[in-house]
Amino acid sequence: MTSVELVKLVRRPRTWIAIGLLCGLPALVAAFLGITKVAPQPGEGPTFLSAVLSNGSLYPAAALAMVLPLFLPVSVAVVGGDSVAGEAGSGMLRYLLLRPVGRTRLLVAKLVTLVVFVLIAVVSVALTSYGVGVAVFGSEPANALVGSDVVTSVSGTGLTPADVALRITYTVLYIAVSMLGVGAIAVFLSTVTDSSLGAALGALAFLVTSQVLVTLDAAASVRPYLPTRYWLAWIDFFRQPILWHDIERGLGIQAVYVVVFLAAAWANFATRDITS
């Protein structure tokens, strides 16, 4: 069943349009930067952008920072929200269950597919933006790394290309994991409703709420439990040495969201009347 779901993902035009859009945004930004050479001041504009003008090999990090807050989670919410509700909406859910495909197995297949989609998306963004970055900005050794708000301690030491590659790999994996919380919420909502649009919007509402509360000082008491709280912790991969504290917190919180919402999704889907 999982392989069938993967074939469906790959044969679906929507998958490639979404990934194309995700890769297109950083390419567009690179084109503007490459032509105008006007970089944002350190500490302003998207993370890392000010650093990439001197070195394109860091561009994947900047590209991921661009798609992370909105573009990527939207695509994850759409794919996750469509997972079960989309089958219900097209009337295929009943025929899949009659093959028979066990309900638990169907849910697992949908989850694996969602994870694969996230990985394909993040890796595609990283690879295409590396190509674009090197082509537009060249690949001088990195000597000045700038976070969104901090001048990193590595400016003196510099990172070897192998180091940059390793840290970007970490980043890709961390961002993929960061998407799983939203994905799990979308899948849960997808088992509740027969409208994939409704499920995706529900997950996005959750996401936006979390994003707003993260920036709100009055909500400081709930902040550590918000799914987006540690999304930007991957910047710590580019510190020297790597600062693990927030990254570990981020992974932990995603794990909690995944476990809770998948359990809810399973409990709901396994006992639900399929009337679509």
């Binding site: 069943m1 097209s90 009337g91 025929y95 899949l96 269950l97 009347d273 009337t275």
Partner: protein, 302 residues
């Protein structure tokens, strides 16, 4: 093959299915009739483990449902509330995916089985256009092909001829008769009396969630003990058969008796002209109207 006892389903306050005891035997061509909204589809969904019963038992192939649905469903082919397919894929790709999705389907024979199923429903030469470009009838045929994929021993078909033209309906009827002759039990739901009347050997009728009748077709359509006579000499015929005439309507007489041949001989002997004479049989429509109330999708003032 299928037996249910006390099968009941409530959605909130509404009782969609109420204490239904189905009995479908191996080799039957069983037709479940009922007006729209009488609970047929909910029964089918419960049989197939899609909807969970509020109360009651279901057994198929001697195994209880939904507990053993995974053992039973591979032997069942189903069409529930219209066919579905992935619109962006061609029909053949849809069947290949569907077949691959099921547990334990053999990869080696997949393509052959899909081709055979398409051939059976008259889509053998179908091209590569996506299903969203199919006509209603082609989709219906594709849905039937999907139901036939695993060479099932039981077919559960909800409105199998929806969207088909008269030739298509006839083809489907012949296909089902053929499969039935080869040993497949057919259980179909319909609100089309003609469809059931022509195909089925056993009939159940549902009305507002209850199974109000379940009987062999031969029993339902047995002679009623009356004879229908059409005669231009209806006056004289009525006089001749005086005492046995139940009803007179112009040239048409309804006469008590079980032997039309004998009555015919008597009339002709007396020099009367007989245009038509036969034993009265109830149509399924009459049976249906006797046992069911007004359509349940009709909403009248109190």
């Amino acid at each position: 093959m299928i037996t249910t006892a006390g099968l009941t389903k409530r959605f909130g306050k509404i009782t969609a299915v109420d204490d239904v005891a189905l009995d479908v035997r191996e080799g039957d061509r069983y037709g479940l009739l009922g007006p729209n909204g009488s609970g047929k589809t909910t029964v089918v969904r419960m049989l197939l483990g899609l909807v969970f019963a509020t109360a009651g038992e279901i057994e198929m192939f001697g195994r209880s449902i939904p507990r053993h649905a995974n053992e039973v469903l591979p032997k069942v082919g189903a069409l529930v509330e219209g066919p579905s397919a992935y619109g962006h894929l061609p029909g053949r790709a849809n069947l290949l995916l569907l077949d691959a999705a099921g547990r334990g389907s053999v990869r080696r024979t997949r393509r052959r089985r899909v081709d055979a199923a398409l051939e059976r429903v008259g889509l053998g030469g179908v091209d590569n256009r996506p299903v969203k470009a199919y006509s209603l009838g082609m989709r219906q045929r594709l849905g039937l092909a999907a139901a036939l994929l695993g060479e099932p021993r039981l077919l559960v078909l909800d409105e199998p001829t929806n969207g088909l033209d008269p030739q298509g309906i006839r083809e489907v009827r012949e296909l089902l008769e053929e499969l039935n002759a080869a040993g497949t039990t057919v259980f179909l739901c319909s609100h089309l009396l003609g469809e059931v009347e022509q195909l089925c050997t056993r009939v159940g009728m549902m009305d507002r969630g209850r199974l109000v009748l379940q009987d062999d077709m031969a029993e339902l359509r047995a002679p009623t003990g009356r004879i229908v006579i059409h005669s231009p000499d209806a006056d004289r015929a009525a006089a001749l058969l005086d005492g046995k005439v139940d009803l007179r309507d112009g040239e048409r007489l309804l006469v008590r008796g079980t032997d039309p041949a004998a009555v015919n001989a008597r009339l002709v002997e007396a020099g009367l002209r007989v245009a038509e004479i036969h034993a009265e049989r109830r149509t399924l429509e009459q049976v249906m109207l006797e046992v069911t109330g007004p359509g349940s999708d009709r909403i009248d003032h109190d």
